[in-house]
């Protein structure tokens, strides 16, 4: 008998002795099926289950990313490239008179939350769902006890790693270019996390409801993403937008992400956070809650509709 010896040692497969407790429960106190461990026990699901499932899903997605390497390399190159381009553009622009440090400081929010996180977190979470759908492992998950909440948090956790990694790269590159991080870093971190949550939430909505195939990911990101990025000031500074577009931009979460992160980098009034900054963070917080709830509901709907063998 090898491994976790059970109550009734058995032989399985090519005469080897394994899986000793296949037909019996695993806890002496349990008669009912439960979510606590594997196949027996108390009847109450516990937080450990969600934690365990979340970590399992996050680890699995990360392993797949690391295996493919290429994606991770591109997610590393992309934010640095965008920052360098934005920084150079602002430094050399004839329309504004900025030092290199000022230019890079302005370029950090647009490059990070406006571009890098958008593609890695929103595009990435859509791709995660579509990849699962295309290799049909979603169906395997549907017949397992994994919960929608765990799935969401697993995807969120992975993209938090990626997003924070990209933030680190961007802030480091900016520091090298003479613009070290300033202002309330805790607030910057909060805004980045809210941005990641928003993107992952929207990514799950798009991935579960609209993207059936890999080709859809590109079309979805282009259709929904590029207009939002332009309106959000990711490629064109928002102060160049005409008044009508600024009204539209006020409804665009990316605009609030960029503005909030810009203000968090230093613009405080004497009483602490400016009211403008607070309003941007409030909008972002509200949007993140709606996006997360929407993502979770979208996942549940997908499970309800597609949960078949």
């Amino acid at each position: 008998m090898t491994g976790d010896s059970g109550r009734d040692g058995r032989v399985l497969g090519y005469g080897r002795t394994i899986t000793p407790a296949l037909a019996s429960g695993c806890h002496a106190d349990c008669q009912e099926p439960c979510l606590r461990t594997n196949n027996c026990g108390g009847v109450k699901p516990d937080l450990m289950k969600y934690g365990r499932e979340t970590l399992a899903i996050a680890q699995r997605i990360l392993i797949e990313l690391v295996r493919r390497r290429r994606s991770l390399i591109f997610w590393t190159i992309f934010p640095i490239l965008i920052l360098l381009l934005n920084g150079y553009l602002l430094t050399e622009s004839d329309f504004v008179d900025l030092t290199q440090a000022e230019a890079y400081r302005i370029a950090v929010p647009t490059s990070l939350v406006g571009a890098a996180l958008f593609f890695s977190c929103l595009g990435g979470s859509v791709s995660t769902i579509v990849a699962e759908r295309e290799q049909r492992t979603l169906r395997r998950l549907f017949i397992s006890p994994v919960s929608g909440l765990s799935y969401f948090f697993g995807v969120f956790l992975v993209h938090t790693y990626i997003g924070l990694g990209q933030a680190l790269l961007i802030y480091t590159t900016a520091a090298v270019m003479g613009a070290p991080p300033e202002g309330a870093l805790w607030l910057a971190l909060l805004i980045i996390l809210l941005s990641i949550a928003s993107y992952v939430g929207v990514g799950l909505i798009l991935g579960t409801q609209f993207a059936q195939r890999t080709e859809d990911v590109n079309a979805l990101v282009a259709t929904f993403g590029v207009p939002l990025l332009i309106l959000g000031g990711a490629f064109v500074p928002s102060n160049l937008l005409p008044e009508r577009l600024l009204l539209l931009a006020a409804l665009n979460p990316i605009y609030h992400m960029v503005e909030a992160l810009t203000l968090a980098a230093g613009n405080f009034d004497e009483t602490g956070l400016s009211t403008e900054l607070v309003s941007h963070v409030q909008f972002l917080l509200g949007f993140a809650v709606v996006a997360v709830a929407g993502g979770w509901l979208a996942y549940r709907r997908m499970v309800r509709v597609e949960r078949r063998l």
Partner: protein, 321 residues
Amino acid sequence: MLSIQHVSKRLGNRPVLQDLSIHIHTGEVYGLLGPNGAGKTTTINLICNLLQPDSGTIAVNGQPVTDATCHWVGIVPQENLLYRSLTCAENLSFFARIYGVPRRQRAARVAQCLQAVNLLDRANARVETLSGGMQRRLSMAIALVHQPKLIILDEPTTGLDVEARYEIWELIRQLKHQGITTLFTTHLLEEAERLCHRIGLLKQGRLLTEGSLADLQQHIAAEEILVLETDDEERAIARAIKLGYTCRYYGGDLALWLPERQELQTILQNFDGIPIRSISRQPVRLEHIYMELTQQRVPPTPAFEGTALQSANLPPFNPHH
């Protein structure tokens, strides 16, 4: 272990299952046979709580099916639903975590399951590098990793080559020897014949019959089946009817039911004067029973009416019946 009682299910306007009742005892290997669209996969969906029955009840280990009872069930789906860029061990470890296998036991359990399906030496091989048969074995290992009480295999050998099929059969035999309750669906009659304690025949959502092979053989009143190749089928059939044999066509071959065992010489004498190219004697097999039942009973008709006969010039049934 598994109790399905009077379950009916419609998908849209189409009845998929009609008053289905199956009881599988602990340690039993039960084969659910049927053509494509018979309702086999729908039955599995219901057992796994992926669908709800319109009427009737399903219980696993005495408990009505809920999401919680899925911990008692291990499923090997028709397709290999695996993470292709992960290794065998990583796939197993992932599902072990999802099913809540405690951390202390996980590594040992993964190794045990890989060993059970003879993939221990491929533990660190990526799934995308495995053959179809190996992937199916890994699917079986995943189904076993949380030590379920009931294993469900949905057409486990579909799409596999002969060698891989034998490997899967061997694994199912091992489950059988260990007394692990197993339900598997198949449309391969030989597979069911070799592996199952009991067999249920499903067609158009109805269970036509169930029982052991010996029980099912009672549906054919013959000791053995004689398959004749002749250039003069009409005369052969006329002679067979005169001799009291039931005539059938199985896959285009003329088959005669012999009510009792006879010497070959006697058989040849019986067909004296008829040009016979070949004769083969077969025991009553599941394929004969299957043909007999599936081609007669839906919609239900009296026994031996509307038979398996495919040829217009062949008398449909034995007048002695």
